[in-house]
Amino acid sequence: MKFALNTHKKYTVLELSGEIDLNESPIARKEILKVINQGKNLLVDLSGVEYIDSSGVASLVEGFQTARANRLLFALYGVSPSAMQVLQISRLDSVFTIYNSLDDVE
């Protein structure tokens, strides 16, 4: 898994790519919570995710809940087909805010 952070005016984009599994999800979780705990709105770009397992999904759920408790935006962006399949089977596609384009966020 690789990650990159891009700061915009109203939000930060965390770009995750590659395979997010039990070995990598602690890194994703740490980065997600770091941004939220800085009081920033967070968009997680999943367009480059080739595989995500339930531990990776758990990191997203924790980010979603932490952001909501702090009245911050937490949304997913450009969800890859592979990641979307896991979210749909877990019925989380209707829980997360999911954007197709950054234009939709503005």
């Binding site: 599994d21 039990l22 397992d53 339930s54 758990a58 896991v86």
Partner: protein, 145 residues
Amino acid sequence: MQKIERIHFMSKPDRLLPVRQFVRSLARSQGCCEENLEHMVMAINEACMNVIQHAYHGAEDGEIVIEFWKQGDELLIRIIDYADAVELNSIKSRKLDEVRPGGLGVHLINKVMDSVEYTNVEGERGNVLEMRKTLSNKQSCEVSN
């Protein structure tokens, strides 16, 4: 039923990536369509993760064995561990409307595989998960092929 492959590895999270790569390669060589292949990869990864986290409780020196058996157009996958026997009633998914981190692995496995069965012998070490998946059933493979 014919055993086509048997692999074993230690209960370390960094072993999951090579296991997924192995399963993709094996399933393709057996004529598995892409959609069923990804379902198999998902179920095996989740099952091994459950063994690492809940059977071996994070200890990295446990052994995990995966056997692949083929009968006609069906693959039987047996995932074996040598941890203390897990209470079978405790193997369940969280309710999906209770949104919280974790507890999804069993649900994912049940959703994507054709059949799932956990067995162990009371008082003895070890657990076995048997999962079956058709390699290329028309209904689920039409889109991917």
